[in-house]
Amino acid sequence: MKLETHGVTKRYGAHAALDGASFATGDEARVIALLGPSGGGKSTLLRVLGSLLVPDDGHVSLDARVLPHDEEGALKERRGNGFVFQGYNLFPHLTALQNIALPLREVHGMAETQATQRALELLHRLGLAGHEHKRPSQLSGGQQQRAAIARALAPKPRLLLLDEPTSALDPVMTGEVLDVIRELAEAGQSIILATHEISFARKVADWVVFLAAGKVEESSAAGEFFTRPKTELAQQYLEGLSKYR
């Protein structure tokens, strides 16, 4: 896919989380990593790219198609995407199975039996066999995040968007979740990933967008970004993060 933004701005009161962010990926980008310091606008940009938020100014285009800004158009767009959040955000009153099957039935119009079957298939694939009927509070963080990934993948999204999916997990669980994401990337899923795990980003990403203070500082092919970052800010960021890993 080719993903472009032009002057995307998103304000919260007086604070601009995104302040005229513009970039364009190559034509064949498939796994895009959003990197940069905390508070730089990664999460907001990820939401705008997935139509979960509509920008106050500017626009996003995906393969030369401009994403709609009206509520109905954005909803339609969102329904084609899958989201995974830092805090998992599963529905606490539903079991793992119901968390996945309910949107399939109600949003994507799937019949009950097919929705259940699809949910079971994904839970098994992500190593959650035996946990189908547990509520989120009965699952570990890593299991909850894998269930959340299963929920996002269930309707076969065009684009899977992950917002710091491992930031709330311990190293072992982080490994579990990263393994899943890597498998998906290798299986050909289009992914946008906001993360601080740069060694992981180096392994799976083919394009990197580097953000700081609401602006895109750098946008380049992953190989190039990790070997020859153009801006000093990106250099410092990479050095700082690789110091202890």
Partner: protein
């Protein structure tokens, strides 16, 4: 529970003996059929008023969260005025002025609507508190899986808010049953009115009120118990 009840009964008996109250139970027994009729009226009208109160409470809650400012302000004012003024005044003005002006002459109908709306105003705030306690991340998750606004209410907000609203709602419904006694002022012969008539006829100032309290407790205690069991059923950790 039973021990407590026995203790309370003993205390009660002691207090009444201390003031040498002259008991006269024969008159009460003579009016048992009237008493039963009053109880049935109270229960039937309370049940209908509960349905009215939950429905009006839900609508007022939605109105207070509406996007359109006039709707929000209108519903907010209704809630504040209804909660802030005595039910007695609302019943008198509602029945003798507003209902008359609209040519409605069914005190039972007017009474049920007014009582339902009165408790509905309280329920609206209980519901609103519960709905607004659902975290922003849950609402974002609902948007992310593609739920529309109506679907978000149906599948995410209401099931979670229900559990949080349950204790407050039960209390309010118990209040509703007791508040229904005020409907006697617009000429409805519910339980309290029957007891007043009975006491007056027997020259017995208090006898009727003890079975009256029991007649309310017989319903309100099981209602509270049922609510606690429901809370248990909805319980899950967040």
């Amino acid at each position: 529970m039973l021990g407590l009840f026995a203790l309370a009964a003993a205390c009660f008996y002691g207090v009444f003996s201390a003031v040498e109250y002259p008991w006269n139970w024969s008159g009460v027994w003579k009016y048992r059929q009237q008493f039963l009729n009053g109880w049935l009226t109270t229960m039937a009208l309370s049940l209908v008023a509960m349905i009215v109160s939950v429905a009006s409470g839900f609508l007022l809650m939605l109105g207070r969260r509406a996007r359109w400012l006039p709707v929000r302000m209108g519903c907010g004012s209704v809630v504040e005025v209804v909660r802030g003024s005595p039910l007695l005044v609302q019943l008198l003005i509602g029945h003798y002025i507003i209902a008359q002006a609209m040519h409605i002459d069914h005190p039972l109908f007017t009474g049920i609507v007014l009582l339902g709306c009165f408790e509905g105003a309280y329920l609206a705030e209980i519901f609103r508190g519960a709905v607004e306690s659902i975290s922003a991340s849950q609402l974002e998750a609902a948007r992310a899986v593609g739920f529309s606004k109506a679907q978000t209410y149906r599948f995410v907000i209401i099931p979670q808010a229900l559990r949080r609203a349950l204790p407050g709602t039960t209390g309010q419904l118990v209040s509703l049953i007791k508040d229904s006694s005020l409907l006697s002022v617009i000429g409805i012969e519910e339980l309290v009115q029957k007891v007043k008539i009975m006491n007056a006829a027997n020259f017995a100032p208090l006898e009727g009120y003890l079975p009256l309290a029991l007649a309310y407790l017989v319903v309100t205690l099981p209602l509270s118990h049922l609510a606690r069991r429901l809370e248990g059923r909805f319980a899950y950790e967040t």
